[in-house]
């Protein structure tokens, strides 16, 4: 009775709805779930989300009561389930109904069961615990004689099934593969595919049955089995090569129209089947000429047959092209495929255009010329209103990027980046730009600008590798130290200018990068020093910390001199601090801080920075406030200057962008810039691109260097046209970088000097700076430059001993000279009854001077006295190695000086020579001698400050590390250093805790730096030098010295 009443009731709204709909255009057949109907109707009538929520909650409450009631019929339950599905679809939680869905699937009649299964498949996820309760139902239904039930069970298995319960149903499903009904076989195959997906091991034993399914007389079953094969072949193509013939045969039959017309879709025979088979053949034929051979014919056939201009033919064509380019190439087919791609690219249909671009992207690595053919279309797509097309075009361009077109392509990418808001797009694009920038950057400015754009747009979402790689690049530098400096300098300048912009917000990661790079700026130094005094741990970026952790085991830090680069000004406050590993990198910046204008910034910035460095990390807003402070007059000027330069660069870029208008000619131009270097000769680099990620800078040639220098000098010119105050800091920075430009040096020395005086600094620091400059200049230029330099270089008097007038005073002057310099004792080299030759080494600052003293012991005059030094490859004697005294009077002494340079590194080597003379008219008497020179004779201390040490340290590529044992007496670090100072003539630059840094150079100008850390009877020595072998030799000497003492 109640049933009947209910029926009537439920029918009413249905009737009503039907009536209503009859007036409308649609003809909805509303009958069964009329409660759902009323629910939907009332929901659509609502105006606000809030009301909807209220209504649904009411509905859910009543549903909850209904499903829980014991007397609810299955029929009613079914209805409830439909309504629950609807509620879930709207996003409301209805978990109370899940168990009832399972019950319904278990107990209901066919219709109810179907709804039950459907609800289960929609409600539950793969790992839901309730799913286990379904297993019994599935097993029962699989055994049912009712086909519909079996179908439902197979469907639910292929949709959602707990992995651990597979064994319970697997035998049943296997049986179904032999079922007489094809629909059952098809679904069984599909269920097995599911098992193969979630638990491949469990279905391994029935691979034979998959083959059987492949040969099924029903096309549907065969098609279903292709899913499994596609997947298995993807995983392991070699195991299924034997099936190639079968797949080819099937495809041939399909293409040849052997299938029932039923399978035709727009008169194309079974297009989806064809697509599937083409994919499989592509996978099988990849890199396999023999297998590919089998497929050529059918591919050709497919291309030929697919002539109709329906979408689905294009789908097949696309697949064909893809396969042809995937398998072992056959020129004839490639040609046809290329023509096909042309059809796609040139099609007015946007979907086809998209696929054409996709195909181009795919084939571009094999056939760059194809891109050239379609370059105009590509250019058009670049300005396409559809962002998806644009992005695909950029993807294509990304693949063809090379050093010549990188700036245009990256420019396009950045434009797109600025427009896009979706996080996913930003992440992937930012990664690509960073990769290209690193690989192909044409110059430092461009690189930094690009990276700035990348960081400011994508800073919050980008992959952490990007900033890490970037900083590493800045940190480790390249082969050319000068270029490094320019790069770092430019980075810091651009950051400064960015920070000046008012109210600009930068992503946290960008600020981190800035701060990290800028860490050696004195404005941070002050604060960091303060923090360190209070025992705070120095800030380190995450990866830095990790690296440090790693290196702790290895005794040495990553970059020991990091924070020691403080300027002469700020170093006074910071000398006592530990050297945290590699915080600061930008050595150029220290140049900034030695400048007055900058000093004002320091104090200002310091305040901003203090706020910045909150406990939570960086607080970006405050940084900007600091930047916008009105007191920042000089810096503002400074920044405008930098901005001006930036703008110039920007203008250049913009003009490039502007030119790229609709005009055909301009497009051509762009095309030529975009596709430059895309010829066949670049094919190799294109192909190799995916696997080798190398830093472009490393490969930079000398020519590029000089170019960069030219750029710098033009900058200087630009600067000088501005007011002197604003121009000073900028120029100063360049100063330290382009010291080989001698004219500039002179100019800058002046400005630098005056500013130093103004700021009340002692001239001492100035000279020290000069020292380094000159030193660096030496290291970079041949000796001729060295001599030209206006340094307090000791110019050794050339042995102008030819004038006899000097002779007498010679000995005394020699002695004077001896007293001036460090020298060895006089050593007797050889003698006979008449003559004695002795020698002494004078270790002058700039050279090794060998003084030969020839003493005539006899009372006779020695005539035609010749002294000759045997030339070897190890030494270079600056003067003529031979010398001749026409006469040496009785009991007199003559001296000869030779400036010796080391040509080839050695530890100890003999310099030999001979003296020949005549007495009266007797034949020549010859005396041979030799003197041992050691490496140490050519080593001089290099007096530099910690800051310069840091600079140099970073610029040297060759390093040698060694741990050596030290005796107890050496355990005291200062003592050990003293030993090195005395015995090896190393200059102690600084002692920081248990670490010491020393510097020396090999004459004439090969610097070598040593970092020494003593701990527990061991000394960790770390040498760096611009010369690759010098550290080894010095290490040997050090070891010797340390062991001896």
């Amino acid at each position: 009775m109640s049933d009947i009443v209910e029926k009537t009731l439920t029918a009413l709204p249905g009737l009503f709805l039907q009536h209503q709909a009859a007036g409308g255009s649609g003809v909805p057949r509303v009958s069964v779930s009329s409660r759902l109907g009323s629910l939907i109707r009332s929901i659509t009538a609502l105006t606000s989300k809030h009301e909807e929520e209220k209504l649904i909650q009411q509905e859910l409450a009543s549903l909850k009561a209904t499903v829980a009631a014991p007397n609810t019929t299955l029929r009613l339950m079914k209805e409830c389930m439909v309504r629950l599905i609807y509620c879930e679809m709207l996003g409301y939680e209805s978990s109370f109904g899940y168990i009832h869905a399972i019950k319904l699937a278990q107990q209901g009649n066919l219709l109810e069961k179907r709804v039950g299964y459907l609800a289960v498949s929609l409600f539950l996820h793969e790992n839901h615990e309730l799913l286990l309760l379904l297993v019994n139902t599935v097993v029962k239904d699989l055994q049912s004689t009712n086909l519909v039930e079996v179908c439902m069970a197979l469907t639910i298995v292929s949709q959602i099934f707990p992995r651990e319960m597979i064994p319970a149903v697997l035998p049943l499903i296997e049986d179904k593969l032999q079922h007489s009904k094809e629909i059952i076989r098809r679904k069984a195959v599909q269920a097995l595919y599911k098992f193969h997906l979630i638990a491949p091991n469990q279905v391994q034993h029935i691979h034979v049955k998959f083959r059987k399914a492949l040969c099924d007389r029903d096309v549907g079953v065969m098609a279903a089995s292709l899913h499994i094969y596609l997947r298995m072949i993807k995983e392991n193509p070699s195991a299924y090569k034997d099936l190639t013939g079968s797949f080819v045969t099937i495809l041939k039959q399909v293409v040849g129209g052997k299938l029932p017309v039923d399978f035709n879709y727009h008169s194309v025979p079974a297009p989806w089947l064809q697509i599937q088979l083409l994919r499989i053949l592509g996978l099988l034929g990849k890199d396999d000429p023999r297998t590919s051979e089998l497929t050529y014919d059918v591919l050709d056939e497919s291309l030929r047959r697919a002539e109709l201009s329906h979408n689905i033919t294009y789908a097949i064509l696309f697949e064909c092209v893809h396969t042809i380019y995937t398998i072992y190439p056959k020129p004839e087919l490639l040609e046809k495929a290329a023509r096909c791609i042309g059809k796609f690219v040139l099609s007015p249909k946007i979907n086809l255009k998209y696929l054409g671009l996709k195909a181009l992207t795919y084939v571009i690595q094999q056939d760059p010329n194809l891109a050239l053919q379609h370059q105009m279309t590509i250019i058009e797509c670049l300005d396409h209103p559809d962002p998806i097309i644009k992005r695909e075009t950029l993807e294509l361009l990304y693949r063809i990027t090379n050093a010549q077109n990188v700036s245009v392509i990256v420019q396009k990418m950045l434009e797109y980046l600025q427009q896009s808001k979706e996080e996913y797009i930003i992440i992937s694009l930012v990664g690509k730009i960073a990769e290209l920038a690193e690989k192909y950057a044409p110059g430092n400015e461009w690189f930094i600008q690009t990276m700035n754009a990348v960081f400011s747009v994508g800073g919050d979402v980008m992959h952490p590798d990007i900033p890490n790689n970037f900083l590493r690049l800045l940190a480790e530098g390249f082969d050319d130290e000068n270029e490094d400096k320019q790069l770092r300098l430019y980075a810091v300048q651009s950051y400064l200018s960015l920070l000046e912009i008012e109210n600009a917000l930068y992503p946290q990661r960008f600020l981190q990068v800035m701060s990290w790079v800028d860490a050696s700026l004195s404005f941070l130094d002050g604060f960091v020093a303060e923090g360190l005094d209070q025992g705070a741990a120095p800030y380190k970026p995450h990866h830095q910390r990790q690296e440090e952790k790693l290196s702790q085991g290895k005794v040495l830090n990553f970059e020991p001199y990091g924070l020691s680069f403080s300027s002469t000004m700020s170093s006074s406050g910071c000398t006592g601090r530990q050297s945290p590993a590699g915080i600061s990198l930008s050595s150029d910046v220290s140049g900034n801080s030695a400048e007055t204008g900058q000093k004002e910034t320091n104090s200002l910035k310091l305040e901003g920075v203090k706020k910045l460095w909150g406990k939570e990390g960086y607080l970006p807003k405050k940084e900007n406030k600091a930047g916008s402070s009105p007191e920042l007059q000089p810096i503002a000027q400074d920044s405008t200057l930098v901005e001006n330069v930036d703008q110039m660069i920007m203008k250049k870029d913009q003009s490039q962008a502007l030119h790229h208008s609709e005009e055909e000619a301009e497009k051509q131009r762009l095309a030529s810039t975009l596709f430059v270097g895309l010829g066949s000769e670049s094919a190799v680099s294109l192909l190799g691109k995916t696997d080798t990620v190398s830093h472009k800078f490393r490969r930079k040639s000398k020519i590029n260097d000089t170019k960069n220098r030219e750029v710098t000098s033009t900058h200087n010119i630009n600067c000088s046209s501005f007011s002197p105050l604003s121009n000073a800091p900028y120029e100063d920075n360049d100063h330290l970088n382009s010291f080989q430009d001698k004219e500039d040096i002179g100019l800058k020395k002046c400005s630098l000097g005056s500013e130093f005086l103004e700021s009340g600094l002692k001239s001492e620091s100035l000279t020290e700076l000069h020292l380094v400059e000159n030193f660096s200049a030496c290291s970079l230029s041949p000796p001729s430059l060295f001599e030209d330099n206006s340094m307090e270089i000791f110019h050794p008097p050339h042995p102008t001993l030819s004038s006899f007038a000097n002779e007498i005073s010679l000995t005394s002057s020699l002695l004077e000279e001896l007293n001036e310099h460090v020298h060895s004792d006089l050593v007797e080299l050889c003698n006979n009854e008449m003559l004695k030759v002795s020698s002494c080494k004078i270790w002058k600052d700039d050279c090794l001077l060998l003084v030969w003293l020839i003493v005539n012991k006899s009372s006779l005059e020695l005539k035609n006295m010749n002294l000759e030094i045997t030339s070897t490859e190890n030494f270079k004697i600056l003067e003529h190695p031979g010398f001749c005294f026409p006469v040496i009077e009785a009991e007199s002494t003559k001296s000869i000086q030779h400036h010796v340079q080391m040509e080839k590194l050695f530890t100890e080597e003999d310099l030999s020579g001979c003296v020949k003379y005549k007495v009266e008219e007797d034949p020549y008497i010859q005396l041979e001698f030799s003197i041992t020179l050691s490496l140490l004779d050519f080593i001089r201390p290099m007096k530099i400050c910690t800051e310069d040490f840091g600079k140099l340290w970073l610029s040297f590529a060759n390093d040698v590390k060694q741990n050596i044992k030290i005796s107890d007496s050496q355990a005291n670090l200062p003592f050990a250093l003293k030993t090195l100072q005395q015995k090896l003539r190393l200059h102690i630059v600084d002692i920081i805790g248990n670490e010491g840094i020393l510097a020396c150079h090999l004459l004439p100008s090969v610097p070598c730096l040593l970092h020494l850390r003593a701990h527990e009877g061991m000394a960790a020595l770390w040498f760096r030098s611009s010369c690759s072998t010098l550290p080894d030799y010095l290490l040997y000497q050090c070891q010797k010295v340390m062991e001896e003492s």
């Binding site: 255009s25 649609g26 003809v27 909805p28 509303v30 939907i40 439909v82 599905i85 609807y86 679809m89 996003g91 009649n109 066919l110 219709l111 709804v115 004689t145 009712n146 086909l147 519909v148 469907t155 292929s158 949709q159 629909i183 599911k194 083959r211 059987k212 492949l214 040969c215 007389r217 096309v219 549907g220 098609a223 279903a224 993807k234 034997d242 099936l243 079968s246 045969t249 099937i250 039923d262 399978f263 879709y265 297009p271 989806w272 089947l273 697509i275 979408n311 689905i312 789908a315 696309f318 946007i350 979907n351 998209y354 696929l355 209103p385 559809d386 998806i388 097309i389 992005r391 996913y424």
Partner: protein, 179 residues
């Protein structure tokens, strides 16, 4: 790993995905392509949204790279045509009021994420046969339990496929392991 999944107004996956997808798709103009590269929500760059727009309805499939874009686009067409046949002039309200039926039809075409059947006639016959059976069973709801079980145990009638199976000569040679 689901390669095909319908997320139109009747599919329940995560609400967020639906909202996001709707947001993406509804923004698109008419004269742009029907493919959308996937956001993070749908699993990254490998996945794509392929949609078709019918009046007020969007049919959106989310597929991975193992599917052909144009193929899926036409699969949507097949799906809609099938719906049309099953509902006899399908309209929006049909889909809303018969969510379950729509799902069943889809399940015939796409099962466990894979395209199972693209032969429209076959799908329609299957659906019709099932409906007939269910209806007949439902009609017997009031009948004695014995009768119901009799119906349940009854085999589905031979579904006439317009295929002459005997003539399909898909011969698969070179299968050594096949016995």
């Amino acid at each position: 790993q689901k390669s095909t999944r319908r997320v139109n107004a009747s599919e329940d996956t995560q609400q967020q995905i639906i909202r996001e997808t709707f947001h993406l798709v509804s923004k698109r103009d008419e004269n742009v392509c029907n493919f959308l590269e996937g956001g993070l929500l749908i699993g990254g760059s490998d996945n794509k949204l392929i949609y078709r727009h019918y009046a007020t309805l969007y049919f959106v499939f989310c597929v991975d790279s193992s599917e052909s874009e144009l193929g899926i686009l036409d699969l949507i067409q097949v799906f809609v045509e099938t719906l049309d046949k099953c509902f006899e002039n399908v309209c929006e309200l049909d889909l809303i009021f018969h969510v379950d039926k729509v799902h069943n039809i889809l399940a015939e075409m796409v099962m466990g994420g894979m395209v199972l059947e693209t032969n429209m006639n076959e799908i329609v016959t299957q659906i019709d046969a099932q409906n007939k059976l269910e209806k007949s069973e439902a009609g017997l709801a009031g009948a004695p339990a014995r009768a119901v079980s009799a119906v349940k145990n009854m085999n589905l009638p031979e579904i006439p496929r317009n295929i002459n199976i005997g003539d399909i000569s898909i011969k698969v040679p070179n299968l050594p392991s096949f016995k």
